[in-house]
Structures are given as C-alpha cells and as structure tokens.
C-alpha cells in the first residue's frame, strides 16, 4: 500500500453501491431532460396572430395584405392560363415583406386544419405575374405566394405560417378582415 493511503481506485473497488446509485440518479435526470427537450425542439406550436399584423422573425418582417382563391393563373407566355391539379384550387396570397438581413427566406407555407402545412408550389418559369414571387434583397417589397389547396378543404385554411426555428413556434398570419 502506498504511503499516501488508499487511492481512489482502491476505495472504489471496496464500496459497491454508492457510485452506481449516484450515476443512475444523474442519468435519470438527464433522460427526462433530453426527452422533454427533444419533444419541444422538434414539434411546432402554431400561434395565431392578429389579422394583417406584422410578424418579425430572424431578419425578416412580413404581413399578409390579401389573399384569394383562383381557378387558374394568368401570365404565361403562350397565353394559356396555368391550372392546378384536378380537385384543387390555387390560393394566391400577397405579402408585404421587409428584409432586414440578407438571405432571409420570405413567404412561408399555408396551414390547413390543425397541423398540415402546404408548401408553395413551383410555378412554371417565365410566368409573368403582377406581383413577383421572389424576396426583396433588402428593405421593403411585395411578394406572392401560391399554394394548391384541395377544393374540399378551402374552409380549413388557417393562414400563412412563418417558422421561428429558435423557439419552435410557427406564427400564423392572416390578411386584415
């Protein structure tokens, strides 16, 4: 035995349970914390906002100015209007946008019902629309968001969502009444 007395390793070898109990307690605390955190971090909470209100998230401010349903979109170069898939109708939303930081993604998805998000559709390129569908590089501008919605569910349209990845909240925007 070294003159310094029993070393840590020797003491550990003699006492069976204290370390295991401590370890199990700490690991339980961790497990609960991790599961809670993962749940919160990967789920989205939808928070409705006042109609026409401005919402700011990570370098971008948006609000919905107006929206309407359309059976077809005009503006293609051969004059033939673009139609949605059978059984669906276009939801056209116009958003007022202010870009505060470069590379911010404007627009968003459309919330249908409780938790279904419909993403914006890729329209044929070369489609000339009165309101562009891209985001201003900086400062204010107008943008258009087009989504195909099943005809049978147009009454379930809740609004345009803006995701805030930091807090896991998705703000739901609506146009002024």
């Amino acid at each position: 035995m070294s003159a310094a007395g029993p070393t840590l390793a020797e003491r550990l070898a003699r006492q069976r349970w204290p370390l295991l109990v401590v370890a199990l307690c700490l690991c339980t605390v961790f497990s609960v914390g991790w599961l809670r955190y993962f749940e919160r971090a990967t789920s989205i909470t939808y928070v409705p906002t006042a109609p026409g209100a401005w919402v700011e998230v990570e370098g971008l401010r948006q609000r919905v100015v107006e929206w309407y349903l359309a059976d077809s979109l005009s503006g293609s170069d051969d004059g033939v209007p673009v139609t949605p898939e059978p059984g669906k109708v276009f939801l056209v939303a116009h958003l007022e946008v202010e870009t505060l930081l470069p590379d911010a993604y404007c627009g968003g998805s459309v919330l249908l019902g409780e938790d279904e998000q419909l993403t914006a559709d890729l329209l044929p390129s070369g489609l000339e629309r009165p309101v562009p569908d891209d985001c201003p590089e900086s400062g204010p501008g107008l943008t258009e968001l087009v989504v195909e919605v099943p005809r049978t569910r147009t009454d379930a349209i809740k609004g345009v969502t803006m995701n805030d990845p930091e807090t896991g909240v998705a703000w739901v925007l609506r146009p002024p009444a």
Partner: protein, 663 residues
Amino acid sequence: MGSSVGDLGRRGPRVRSDMTTVSSMLSEAVRLAARSGQLWWRLWPQLIGLMLLGWLAYQVSTWVTVTQGIARPYLVVPLFATGLVGMLAATVIGLRMVATQLGVRELVRAAEPDAEDDDERDTSLTSLLVLTLLPFLAVYAAFGYVDDLATALVVRNAAVRGPFENILVGLNPLNSRTATIVTIGALVGLYVLRRVLDTLHDRTRIRVFGLLTAFVEACFLLLFLLSGFRLVEQANLWLSDRRLMSWWDAAIADLAAGFSVFRIDLPDVLVAVGTFFGEVVWPVFWNGLTEPIAWLAMAALVFGAKVVSVADLWRKGEPLAAQLPGARQTRLARRLGTSGSSSRLRTVALQAQEVFLGDIDDKYLPTWQSLRLVLRAGIVFLGGYVIVSSVLSLSFEVLDMAVYNVIGGQSGDVWARIDPFLDLVDRVLHQSLRVVLLAVAFTRALSLFAGQAAGAEQLPGAQPAGPRRAAGWRGQLGQAAVVLLLCLGLAGATVGIQQVEDSRRLSAGVGERAELMGRQVSVGEPRYGQVLVDIGYSEPTELDTTPLVFIALPVDLAIEGEKPVGNLTVTLVNGDRSYPAMTNELLPGESGVVSSIEMVYEVDPADLDGLQAELEVGAFITGFSDVVVVDLGLDRAAAERVVAEAAGRELTVSSQSTTRPIR
C-alpha cells in the same frame, strides 16, 4: 506458469505443435474469458456506475453542443473534448480499479522487492489522465471512433434543428481566409498552452492544472481532426496540382504502356489488387487484429510506466530508454552535464528540444514500449486474447442488430430521439466488459513475464530464451500461420457482421396490403408494353417507344393516422440491378385517404425473371428502417410470355395520382 512457447518447442513434430498451439490458444482464451467474467460479476456495480458517468458526460456535452453549436461554433471543439475526456476518464479509472483488484502492484512488488516505489505523480489520477489521454485519443481516432462521434453529433443536430444547418460547417478552415488563419492560430495556441499547463502541473503538482492539460490536449487533437485535416487535404491537393505530380502520373502511364506489351493492364491489375487489399484484407486486419492489440497496449500505459519498465526488464529485453515521468529535470540536467562544455546556445537548444520533444520521452516512448511488450507476450497469449476480444465484439454486434430488429424500422427522428439510450449498450455494458478483459489480459501477460523470469532463474544452467527460439523457427512460423488464420477468421466474422443491412425486410405479395412505418401500402398487378402513352392533362400523348419493356405498376398508399415523415418510393430490383421510377417518383400521401398512382419503369427484359418491387420511405434523416419487398411473381416462362405479348403494344398510363377516402 512458465513460458508455454519454450515448452512447445521441445515437444514434437510441427503438426502436433500446431494443434497444440490452437488448443492452448483456445484454453488461454477460455481462461481469460472466465476470469474476466468472474471479475466483472464481482465489480459490476462500480464498473457500470463509472461507465454511466462517462456516458453521461458524452451525452450532456453533445446536448449542449446541439443547443449552442450553431450560434457559437467555437464552442463545438471544447464541448466535444469535454465529452471525450469524460468517457476516457471513466475507462481509465475503471482500468485502475480492476487492476487493484487483481493485485498488480503486489505482483510487481513481490517479484522485484527492491524496485523503487512509484512516486505520487505516477499514481495520481490526473497525471495518469494527462499521460494516457493523447495515446488513447490517437487510438480512438485511428480506428474511426472520433468520426463516428462526429457523425452522431451532426445527425443529432440535424434531427433537432433541421437539415439545413450542418453543425460542423463552421469548423471548416477553408471557408475563408480568416477561418484558415484562425484555425492554424488556434492549433498553435493550443499546443503552446498545453506545454505551459503541463510544465505548471509538473512544478506545482496542483491537480487542476493536470485536468486542464488533458482537456486542452483533447481540444488540440479534436481541432486537428475536425478542421486541421482539411488543411492537410488542401495541401495534398495543391501538391498534386504541381508539375511534380503530373510528371509522376505521366511516368506511371508510360510504365503501364510498357507493360501492355505483356498484355498486363498494369493499372487494372493494380486496381484489382488494391481493391481486394483495401476493401477485404485491410479492414479485417485493422479492425479485427490491430485494434485489440492497440487497446491492450493502452491498458499497459494505464497500469503505469513503472510497471511497464519492470516488466520489460523481466523479459530480459533491451532496457527502457524512457525515464520515469517527472524526471524531466534530471534528464535535462544530465544531458547538459555530460556534454562537457555547455554554451548558452546549447542550453537554449536543449531547453527548446525539451519543450517541444519532451512529449516523445514522456508519452510516445512509453506507448511504444508498452506496445512492444504486449507483442512479445507470446503468440499463444496474444491469440487467445484476440479470440476473446473478437468474440466479445461479435456478440455485441449481434446484440445491437437484435435490438434494432426488436424495435423495428422507424423514421429518422425516432432514432435520433432514442439514440442516447441505444448508446447505453455499447458505451456502458460493452465498455465495462472490455475494461475488465483488458485488465485481466495485461495481468496475465505480466504473470507470464514474471514466470519467465522466475523460471529462468530457477533452472540450473538455464539457456537464454534466444537459441531455443532460433532452433524452432520453422515450427514457430507454422504456429504463427495457424494462429493468424484463426484470428483472421474471427476478425472476418466481426467485420462481416458489421456490414449488415441497415433495414428490416418485410415481404408481401401482389395485391396484399403491408404495413410500412405508419403507412399501409400495396402493389397491384403490373401492366406491360413498349409504347408509352400518357393520358395526362388533356389528350393522350405518345411519350416514348422502347426496345426494352415499359412496366406500369399501380401503387396504393393509405395513411390512417397522422401523416408520418417521409415520402414513399418504389424501386424495381433484380439482384443488384435497380430501376427507379421514371415519373412520379415520390408519393407523400395524405392522412385519411388512399392515394393511388401508377409508377412507370423501363426495364431490361432479361431482368423480368425474378423482378421485385421495393417500397421504402425516403426522408432527409433515416435510421434503421423497414423495406417492403413484393415479388412480382415472374418466373422464366412468365417473363418470356410478357415480353412476347408486350411487343409493340401501347401502354396507357395516367401521370395523375387519385385519392379516395379510406373505406
């Protein structure tokens, strides 16, 4: 006890000695396994407790990295390092603890009563950590575990934060000139800081400095592995661009041209040999054989440099070149003293050499010595140890697969959530067993050496081990070959298991509904033709004609509950040839409805016999998932019939998917 190798040399003809080698190896393996099991049973609460704490350190550090890493990329390396050091500390303490139970110290002291006692620095935990950390990390990195940890971090981060933010991107030094300068600066700075802390720890013996040294060392190594290697890669790329490399390439091409005279396609031959070596032989060799030996050498380090040096002396090998750690001052003084004249320049030069290369004497030399020691413990012992180690690894691979199969195929986010708990099997249970095995194995090696030393002293007119070995060299070679084959076999089995599928295959028939990770899928009767007509939006348009065969496969996708993550893909497969769908490749599906679509494929008629449809879910992050395999029921005769009937026939498909409510 006593040396088994010497005994074997005396016993008889080569064949019998080979069999005896195998049987002694196996009995050695059984003995090691039994002793390890015994010891583990005696110490399992402490071992599991220790490994749990190590696991906890790693998981917590990963968690914090995930929450903070994107906003503050400079935190990634220190956090990662904390987790690694925590895991390592648990392993080292565990090894020490088992060593005390095995009475290693008493063994050494009994055999060498006049050997000096270890000074406190050698036995204190923090010193041990500093001493063993870099070699441990190096072994960890060499066998790919650091890569695994980094990947796990990236995946976990992607699962929580979404796929667009790779947490390690911030560490890429090639991002910008600033990044390169910062990385190089950080590497140099960490190295200097570590030397400073190490010297402080030496002089003042304050524990905290020791811990900090270990931590800074881990940061340095990680930063090099995660960032620095890219600079090395870049340097390589730069070099290959230079004229020198193109000259080299041209020379190789000329050589190949010369060989073509003999009809040997040199590059192809090289490629084939290289591939076989690289993909088959090397992994087996590296993982199966080298890894257990490397860990055994690490264990030797933990047992203490003092033990290693004494054991080395027992072997009557060359004396250990390295001195005890902490003797740095004396070594330096000795160098200065014996050099005769000691000019100022020389003093400074020696001091500098000490600062920068002192590592070599302190860490690398002991590591090297312990590796050599382990390798000379005898083929029987080594073979037995490698067998036990391989069986242990194999068993845990099998256990892992069993756990996956029990849980079943799940989407990627489920796996990301339970990943920390799946880790428990490997990092806690497996690691605790491995620690015990290492301790038992090294103690066995020590006692073999002690027995050799004792035996050699007791035999009157004892021959030194050398000549006897030389006489039986052919027998030795035969033994070695047998042992190698046995170990390679086991190692091969381990590596083979590691290449298992990452999915669970479920079969279904045509028209039969199957459950696929929260969805109900079914595949209908296929239709065949050679002229593809799409009824599409308005009028039928002829799309394509093919000399092969078009197949239209109706697929139904029903989602009863909540819509799960990912899209359905259907691929036609025969052996290792696969055909993705030509149009409508992904089917997302909607909750509460049955989506139907016809997927179209262009298939070689030769592949119709035995064609299968594989239905999978694709998402950004996937883990162990389910795959539904539907055999289309085409045998040779049916395939020929299909080809005959499809000749020139029109195949009308609709590119639209239709939905109807479930029931």
